[in-house]
């Protein structure tokens, strides 16, 4: 298991390296000379040259890349072109908001999705199954923004149970924070719950008709043990894989959800940065997203190995 994790970490580092090169080259490939932009239209060639030298832009590309990586690793992500605030500070403020929203949405998705998937598979063809698959279809079809607006209309405007929008940091007022995060998390989590429900249901249906489930029944085990231990354990690998794959959609979902509920998170930061062509912020946002992806995939792989002894014991694996 330790060897397996080390190997996975190794490949994660390689992915990060390739991603950083791509980000670096992507920014350099953008049209326009940054030194000219910074110096202004009227500046003399000597001034442009001085700026170019100051920012290391006269060095060959590999040397520039080394500078970029060293600075990034030391936490220097540059300054926002809008307000000259260090990008690292902006991220430190915005990232936790989105992480909280995503975590809550995932929690909703796992509890509702996996739970209803299990119920649907056990009660196949019965009323509960139709309710769950109906929810699955609706959850997949309804767009986030529409569901969000409906939620605001119902819970904030009509019933007045929850505030319509806004954000309070968790450290300031946990209750108010959760109260404001509840609706966005439900909205963002619904789609994932639907996907997880469908995956759990089909994986469980396969597992429930497997020979080893019949063996479990022949031992005289209670149905809860047969379903909850024997069938579910073998279905979880599929569920975990889907969970990892869906993370990209979670980030784009967070962008939309944060817009609707006016939450100052990572998603909103991304949209604002793109709209104002704030390159240092965009660069950092992409890098953080990539890191997020790599870390989650690493966790998924480890969870996968934990759940599946065939992967754990061969020390290898897939993907």
């Amino acid at each position: 298991m330790v060897w397996f994790i080390l190997r996975r970490c190794g490949s994660a580092v390689i992915v990060l390296f390739v991603a950083s090169v791509l980000i670096f080259l992507g920014v350099r490939a953008l049209p326009g000379d940054p030194a000219v932009v910074m110096a202004g239209e009227e500046a003399s060639p000597a001034v442009v040259e001085a700026i170019r030298h100051e920012f290391g832009l006269d060095k060959p590309l590999p040397a520039q890349y080394v500078d970029y990586v060293t600075q990034t690793l030391s936490g220097n992500l540059g300054r926002s072109t809008q307000d000259q605030i260090p990008v690292a500070d902006i991220l430190a403020e915005r990232l936790p908001v989105t992480l909280e929203l995503s975590a809550l949405a995932m929690l909703v998705a796992i509890v509702v999705g996996v739970g209803s998937g299990i119920v649907a598979s056990v009660r196949r063809g019965k009323f509960a199954d139709y309710v769950a698959t109906g929810f699955g279809l609706a959850g997949l079809s309804v767009p986030h923004f529409w569901l969000g607006l409906l939620g605001i209309l119902l819970f904030a405007v009509t019933l007045r149970w929850l505030p319509a929008s806004g954000y309070v940091p968790f450290t300031e007022d946990p209750a108010a924070n959760l109260q404001r995060m509840l609706l966005p998390a439900l909205v963002l989590g619904t789609g994932f719950a639907a996907i997880l429900m469908r995956q759990t249901r089909s994986a469980m249906l396969g597992a429930l008709s497997a020979d080893y489930v019949r063996t479990a029944r022949s031992k005289g085990l209670a149905e809860s043990k047969v379903v909850g231990a024997h069938a579910l354990r073998n279905s979880l690998t599929t569920v975990v894989t889907v969970l990892g794959l869906q993370l990209g959609a979670l980030i784009s979902g967070a962008v939309v959800t944060e817009q609707i509920f006016v939450i100052p998170g990572f998603g909103k930061l991304t949209v604002d940065a793109v709209l104002t062509r704030n390159y240092p912020v965009i660069q950092a946002v992409v890098l953080v997203t990539v890191i997020g992806y790599v870390v989650v995939n690493l966790l998924v792989d480890i969870a996968y190995a934990y759940l599946n002894p065939r992967i754990r014991l061969s020390g290898g694996g897939h993907g």
């Binding site: 022949s218 005289g220 085990l221």
Partner: protein, 321 residues
Amino acid sequence: MSLLEITDLAVHFDTEDGLVQAVRNISLTLEEGEILALCGESGCGKSVTAMSVPRLLPPGTTKLTGSIKLDGRELTTLPEPELRKVRGKDVSVVFQEPMTSLNPSFTVGYQIAEVLRKHEKLSRRAAMDRAVELLELVGIPAPRRRVKEYPHQLSGGMRQRVMIAIAVACSPRVLIADEPTTALDVTIQAGVLDVFRDLRDRLGTAIILITHDLGVVADIADRAVVMYAGRAVEQAPVAELFARPRHPYTLGLMKALPSAAVNGRLAEIPGMVPSPMSDPDECAFRARCPRAQDDCAASRPLLVRQAADHVAACFHPGEQP
């Protein structure tokens, strides 16, 4: 009173195409320490008959009538929670597919211990110690190491032995072995049969052995029931059955044994098994039978005594084709 008494058992499956009659009014008994073979070709109802005892057939679509008594206790009407105390404890099963019958996500030790913790209320540790003993009992070398391994690390023969270890963990009264050797190499088959024999001798376990292999029947069984199209067509002690088969179907099965091949060619039984959907009042084997006459189409032959403890359902019984 016999250990297990099955009386007039009929099993129907409700399928989209209609009612499939898998077992039609079977009656049989099993004594303590007896090895009873249920034989016949695929689809004759032998597995369904045996799986009816612990009621391991798909619950929604199965209709079961008749009576199954274990030690005088009726199992067909036993509530599910009560039945769970019987499954794995009094009646246990070794399934046909050793490759898929064990859960790939749990160690073999856990899977053996599970049944002990459920029925014998053993602690986790005591159950694991017992699992090691059981692996040793079924002839798995280095059981202390094997108990911590997963099914994919074991060969087919070893997995089947693990299945047997699970099945015998709580010293069952009745062990149902569904084609336990079919998926295994010939060299391993004999070893698995030895394990069964050993269990019977040591624990007095009665075994229902489901097989289409008459070689296995001759090797290990005390008594055999030959089934055809959901009914028992012949029943006799094994020595008697092989010496004096009375039903033409039994005779056909024996001729199909590789050891009985003439000029290197196996004899086959011509024709097809009749549909399990309809059940006309005639001998089901009539269309394939070399002895068939007009009376075979007129009514269904019942089991008739041929010799002491030997019955056959045929209007024209005999040892010659």
